[in-house]
């Protein structure tokens, strides 16, 4: 398996405050990796640093090419789709416009049209509501829309920031089921940041645990889930 994303000694800063203290991890092509950790551990910052939305130093390589010092909008063109915390929905636009925006960097208009239909097949509720303002959707529907919008890029890597946040448990199950399917069937590599460790570990191949800006634990998701000590001390369940 080839390494798709390789992060080395990543340090990130908000003004004078350092949020990441030399964090290293990697993600293999086609895998689903989760970053776990408590509030404020630096999970979101890690995702933001990959997309250059926060000042950082260290090495970030995607498919062997360095991403450092590239603008956020140009990193998207590598095939990296980022679903930010809070979903980043274009609330005053229609559902369909949100999907079109996901594919705004693509040039193949026929492919875009067929991909929109594909998204409606994945997420039937979006088809029902395709002319509605996205802001009128429920939280779960907006999360579906955010994932669909990211997929419209035909990404090689999808970054998801707490997709379960604020959703009912049943909706979360649904969503994670879809993420697993996307990973297996569409061969999209996924890096997902989660507070819901139990669920994320069921889904992921590989897991990293972050504490105060450092990786403190890594391994196969199964092993981490089965290790009671780790679960108790870092994951709180």
């Amino acid at each position: 398996m080839t390494t798709l994303l390789n992060v080395k000694d990543l340090r990130a800063y908000y003004g004078q405050v350092q949020a990441l203290h030399g964090l290293s991890f990697s993600l293999n092509e086609g895998s689903l990796v989760t970053l776990l950790g408590a509030n404020g551990a630096g999970k979101t910052t890690t995702l933001r640093a990959i997309c250059n939305m926060v000042r950082s130093t260290g090495g970030i390589e995607f498919d062997g090419k360095p991403l450092n010092n590239r603008s956020t909008e140009s990193i998207v063109r590598f095939g990296i789709a980022h679903v930010p915390q809070g979903r980043g929905t274009f609330t005053n636009m229609t559902v369909e416009e949100n999907l079109q925006l996901g594919a705004i960097t693509r040039k193949d208009s026929a492919g875009i049209v067929s991909d929109i239909e594909r998204m409606y097949a994945h997420f039937p509720v979006l088809k029902q509501r395709h002319t509605q303002q996205a802001g009128t959707l429920s939280g779960g529907e907006q999360q579906m829309l955010a994932v669909a919008r990211a997929l419209m890029l035909r990404p090689r890597l999808m970054l998801l920031d707490e997709p379960s946040f604020g959703l009912a448990p049943l909706v979360v199950r649904d969503l994670f089921g879809i993420l697993g399917k996307i990973n297996r069937e569409d061969k999209v590599s996924i890096l997902v940041v989660e507070q819901n460790a139990q669920l994320a570990l069921e889904l992921a191949d590989q897991a990293y645990v972050i504490e105060t800006g450092r990786i403190v634990m890594s391994g196969k998701a199964k092993d981490i889930a089965n290790n009671e000590e780790i679960r108790k001390s870092y994951l709180g369940y």
Binding site: V76, P84, Q100
Partner: protein, 292 residues
């Protein structure tokens, strides 16, 4: 009754100009959250360019087109040179920037073309429109050009990808960057388009108010009134506001004793204040909750 119809139609004609100015103001406000006080001066300068071209023998529509392109590029240049570096600066710094821009353009126009009032031609003529005494061909032309412009803009923003990208960049800049939109250039493009729209307003109103460096002062205040009335966050509202202000201004001048031509402008200001007090978001605007 004929006086009333006449005043309403004339109001719609000048309202079309206010609608253009309001739209230009709203486009820049949507993009950078600041009111462009120099919008009128930019339009005035563009109008002078078209006048100069005509003096050199370029036919009207040729000059019109060249001026549009000049204004578009000029608007982008102003954003790149002056306001892009100020993007993260405090509000007052930006306000100072706009006032400086206002003064610079106003004085440059005076320096180049002096402050005397100049006649400006109309391509539509000023005969009665279709034999009716209610409205002149130039007024009909003002309305016609504005309607075409608005339809064109509507089509652009609703049905083109670049229009969609511009709307996305204005509404949620961070998400727009995350789908790969270069928001910085979308802002510049917004400036270019606002500048071009303003130049159309300037060229259409110049035969009425005559050409001179201060010609757009009053017009811009009406444009602001229109934008505030319709809602600074709503391009559609700005356009409706423009027509409403135009008609209201004319009717007030005709029917409220003592207002006449001299006190029309204070009416626009009174309108701005009343709207801000009663309905701060305007008729069609959204309430914006801002984190501080």
């Amino acid at each position: 009754m004929e006086l009333f119809t006449n005043q309403v139609l004339a109001g719609i004609a000048t309202g079309a100009i206010y609608a253009c100015m309001a739209l230009a103001v709203v486009m820049i406000y949507q993009a950078i959250d600041h009111l462009n006080f120099a919008q009128g001066e930019m339009a005035m300068f563009s109008t002078f360019i078209s006048w100069q071209l005509m003096q050199w023998g370029v036919p009207y529509w040729g000059a019109f087109l060249i001026t549009l392109i000049f204004s578009f590029i000029g608007g982008i240049a102003i954003e790149r040179i002056l306001f892009k570096p100020l993007a993260k600066a405090p509000v007052l710094t930006n306000v100072a920037g706009f006032i400086a821009l206002f003064a610079i353009i106003n004085s440059s126009a005076g320096l180049i073309w002096d402050f005397t009032i100049k006649q400006y031609p109309t391509p539509f003529g000023s005969a009665p429109f279709l034999g009716s005494q209610l409205i002149s061909t130039h007024q009909a032309g003002m309305i016609g050009v504005t309607v075409l412009l608005l339809l064109g803009l509507y089509f652009f923003f609703q049905y083109t990808r670049i229009g969609l990208a511009m709307r996305a960049a204005a509404s949620v800049p961070e998400s727009a960057r995350l789908v790969g939109i270069n928001t910085s250039w979308m802002i510049a493009l917004g400036w270019g388009m606002a500048s071009a729209i303003g130049s159309i307003a300037g060229m259409l109103i110049a035969p009425v108010v005559f050409l001179e460096p201060n010609m757009m002062g009053g017009v811009l205040i009406y444009g602001f009134a229109a934008a505030v009335l319709g809602g600074l966050t709503s391009p559609f509202g700005a356009v409706v506001g423009g027509f409403l202000v135009g008609v209201f201004e004319n009717l007030a001048g005709t029917y409220i004793p003592g207002v006449g031509n001299e006190l029309k402008l204070p009416i626009a200001l009174a309108l701005i204040i009343s709207v801000l007090v009663v309905k701060p978001a305007g008729l069609f605007g959204r309430h914006i909750v801002k984190r501080v």
